[in-house]
């Protein structure tokens, strides 16, 4: 549902609000309807018979008598909406959900717990608030003008608090304010690597210009949702991979040798989308096959071809998808004569665990995975160029570059500055050492400036 609305209203807070309102209406409408339907006909007849107008019948009889049912629907809605609001982070609307997703993507349990507890707390508070309305029929009594002081207070005080909180939230967020013209919105996909790169871009801009950066990190669906948002000018810049851009955005077939022509890619982006690639950052995050460094050294395995020759000594593990997709293992097997002892299919997140426990000796990796460094893996060379390259580069709207020409130079400076090993290291710092992406980016930029200074 969030995804469906993206083409209509774009990503962000407005989209999230629209979706949440539509979702929330359903249980309220349903409980209101059933509440009204269950008002005893005899009471309606009595009210009509005594001379009430239709409006009076509704106000005096239908509404108060349906109120308990309406409130129970409202209570469900409040809890549901609070929970759903967590998902709004997926479309860059921010909130506590962002903590959860960032935690999930960077394997940071602390963030997940913080986000979850925060959302639960809001849900409980909301539930309690509506609960006060229901308790002792307080709201019904207030509406019927026969409430005791206790019943009245039960409605008034919590509601004043909620109102104050809502006003503060509105002032703070101001969903209707148009985007400040002096800001740049940087996006990222929901992976540790993307969080780090997003921070590197953001901090580079913040440290060297007066521009404000709005961070829309961890957008669900990645390219599928980020690219259209750049076109609709909701987002300004993010890091994309050449392979993804070629296959998923341009929807072109790979050339014979799997070599993606960066110049052609960039030109198509400029012509079709008015988007520009500011060079490539220097690393390639593609599929790879890895074995332990000891094995590699002992058996002198450097390439996929080497591995194929000795594959009868290895058990190979990969995620289900890898065995399924024709552009992954099935095609790979045709090119290299692999003959593993055994193939283990497993969940993508369990591969490294299986490797660590010795259940598998060869594994498929993404070449910048933190675990490559952590488990001391050797990523072998794809000597027949089977996998297309997924080289990372900053994609930015040309309009922004025209408006703030200084940015182009700043970001182009990052060209070639992050090797595949460096990216592994940065991912390692976030995922294994549990540093925040912001800190990792900060250190990286500091070291970069030191080097440049020399």
């Amino acid at each position: 549902m969030f995804g469906l609305l993206i083409p209509l209203v774009g990503i962000g807070l407005q989209n999230a609000l629209i979706v949440l309102i539509i979702y929330g209406l359903l249980p309220i409408v349903r409980s209101t309807y059933s509440g009204l339907k269950e008002v005893p006909a005899q009471l309606v007849e009595a009210a009509e018979g005594l001379g009430s107008t239709p409006a009076q019948v509704f106000k005096n009889i239908y509404f108060p008598l349906a109120l308990p049912s309406i409130l129970s629907g409202l209570r469900i809605t409040v809890v549901m909406i609070v929970a759903l609001t967590g998902l709004a982070a997926l479309i860059g609307a921010g909130g506590l959900g962002q903590a959860i997703f960032r935690g999930l993507n960077t394997m940071n349990t602390g963030l997940i717990v913080t986000g979850s507890v925060g959302i639960s707390l809001f849900a409980i508070l909301g539930d309690q608030w509506i609960g006060q309305f229901e308790k002792d029929e307080s709201l019904l009594r207030v509406i019927s003008k026969n409430a005791s002081t206790a019943q009245r207070n039960r409605i008034i005080f919590p509601s004043i608090l909620v109102l104050i909180a809502a006003i503060l939230a509105l002032i703070f967020l101001n969903p209707l304010s148009s985007k400040n013209s002096e800001t740049i919105t940087v996006a990222s996909k929901p992976t540790s690597e993307q969080f780090i790169l997003g921070e590197i871009i953001s901090q580079t801009i913040e440290n060297n210009t007066d521009l404000k950066v709005v961070r829309k990190f961890g957008i669900g669906g990645g390219t599928t949702n980020i690219h259209p948002a750049l076109i609709s000018r909701d987002l300004d810049a993010y890091v994309e991979y050449t392979g993804t851009a070629w296959l998923n955005v341009l929807k072109k077939d790979l050339p014979e040798n799997n070599f993606i022509d960066f110049a052609e890619l960039n030109k198509t982006y400029e012509d079709q989308f008015q988007l520009k690639w500011l060079g490539l950052l220097g690393f390639n995050n593609t599929y790879g096959l890895a074995i332990s460094k000891e094995n590699a050294n002992a058996q002198k395995i450097e390439t996929y071809s080497d591995l194929a020759l000795k594959s009868s000594q290895f058990t190979f593990g990969a995620e289900f998808d890898f065995f399924e997709r024709s552009d992954a293992f099935p095609g790979l097997k045709k090119l290299y004569p692999f003959n593993f002892i055994k193939l283990e299919e497993m969940d993508i997140n369990l591969r490294y665990q299986a490797f660590e426990q010795g259940k598998i000796e060869a594994v498929d990796v993404f070449t910048t995975d933190a675990q490559i460094k952590n488990l001391n893996l050797k990523v072998l060379k794809d000597d027949k160029n089977y996998f297309p390259s997924y080289e990372a580069g900053i994609v930015i709207r040309e309009e922004i570059l025209k408006k703030y020409p200084e940015i182009e130079l700043l970001l182009t400076n990052l060209k070639g500055k992050i090797s595949t090993e460096k990216m592994q290291e940065l991912n390692y710092e976030v995922e294994i050492q549990k540093k925040s992406p912001a800190d990792v980016a900060k250190d990286f930029l500091k070291n970069l400036n030191l080097k440049d200074g020399k």
């Binding site: 005899q42 009471l43 009210a47 009509e48 005594l50 001379g51 008598l65 019927s144």
Partner: protein, 213 residues
């Protein structure tokens, strides 16, 4: 004696689906009378009461209340001049006993003081105590509920009081007491009462005239 008739029912036809309930039915109700509509279940006695109140619209025929032909335009106006007591419990459960009693007075936008005074006057008439006023209907007995229902129907000094088997859900002892009470109220208020009942004894006991359906 035309001006002594307060309700005229003329040539009413009414059916539920294909079943004819009232066929070319006519009747007059005299001012100040206590008419009991007597009949078997299904004879159309409650239907007739609802037609007089405008809750049901006949297929043809007229209802004339105090020389005024009942129509959608004057329906609410006319109903405000009638009291209506239903079978069983029809008190509004979310309102206090007092709020139930002054329901019609509030529809007529009477002042708070007027309401208070009026109810204080009526309480002894139906034999209810003041401490009941702030209770809710579910906190009082069935007989008390019907007494509250009667006050609700007469507090705004209606020209006509319509009652649809008001005592049918009560035990015989309570019923006897309430019959005496209603008879007493009728004599004191001198208002026109129309009561639907299936009990001949009740009709004979209360009615100044009986309309057999």
């Amino acid at each position: 004696m035309e001006n002594n008739i307060i309700i005229e029912v003329q040539n009413i036809n009414f059916s539920f689906g294909s079943q004819k309930i009232l066929e070319d039915f006519s009747a007059n109700f005299e001012k100040g009378s206590f008419t009991c509509i007597l009949g078997e279940s299904g004879s159309g006695k409650s239907t007739l009461l609802r037609i007089i109140n405008g809750l049901l619209i006949p297929e043809s025929g007229l209802v004339i209340i105090d020389n005024d032909i009942l129509s959608p335009e004057n329906l609410i106006q006319n109903r405000l001049q009638m009291g209506y007591v239903l079978q069983g419990n029809s008190l509004f459960p979310h309102l206090t006993v007092y709020q139930n009693m002054i329901y019609c007075l509030q529809l007529l936008k009477k002042s708070d003081d007027y309401c208070k005074e009026k109810i204080a006057k009526l309480l002894p008439l139906v034999g209810l105590k003041k401490d009941l006023l702030q209770k809710f209907p579910h906190e009082i007995s069935g007989g008390q509920k019907q007494r509250v229902g009667i006050i609700r129907a007469i507090a705004h000094d209606p020209k006509i009081v319509l009652m649809d088997e008001p005592f049918s859900a009560l035990d015989s002892e309570t019923r006897d007491k309430l019959q005496i009470l209603v008879k007493d109220i009728h004599q004191k208020l001198k208002t026109t009462f129309v009561m639907v009942t299936h009990s001949k004894a009740e009709a004979r006991n209360l009615g100044t005239s009986i309309l057999q359906l």
